[in-house]
């Protein structure tokens, strides 16, 4: 794991608004992406993030660890 499971969850959460907004922004630039394409591209991106996260990393574990909360 390159990042902790919790970190991955948060990264995925941030990817969702980025994908939603990217479609709107692109439309202003004249590039029209259909909702279906957005979903497909989104799934690809999210899968890529997951694959990146679970791939054997450089060995530097994320410093986050359980603490009293």
């Amino acid at each position: 794991m390159r990042i902790s499971p919790a970190g991955l969850l948060v990264v995925l959460a941030f990817a969702v608004p980025a994908l939603v907004q990217a479609r709107t922004v692109l439309a202003f630039a004249g590039v029209h992406v259909s909702p279906l394409q957005t979903v497909l591209i989104g799934l690809l991106v999210l899968t890529a993030v997951v694959l990146w996260a679970v791939a054997p990393g450089s060995g530097t574990e994320a410093p986050s660890e359980p603490n009293g909360g």
Partner: protein, 53 residues
């Protein structure tokens, strides 16, 4: 807290990351406001004008 690796006191701490993040936020606000006010609003139809102007 167990996970603290080092103590950083007031005088040795410069919130560089905060300044960077908030600088980006500032730019985003300026761009979004400019777009919304001058393009979406003033560029729209049926703008309400005063009778005197």
């Amino acid at each position: 807290m167990s996970s603290i690796e080092r103590e950083i006191g007031h005088d040795e701490y410069d919130p560089v990351g905060t300044l960077a993040l908030i600088g980006l936020y500032f730019l985003l606000l300026v761009v979004l406001w400019t777009f919304t006010y001058f393009v979406e609003f003033l560029g729209g139809d049926l703008t309400v004008v005063g009778t005197l102007l």
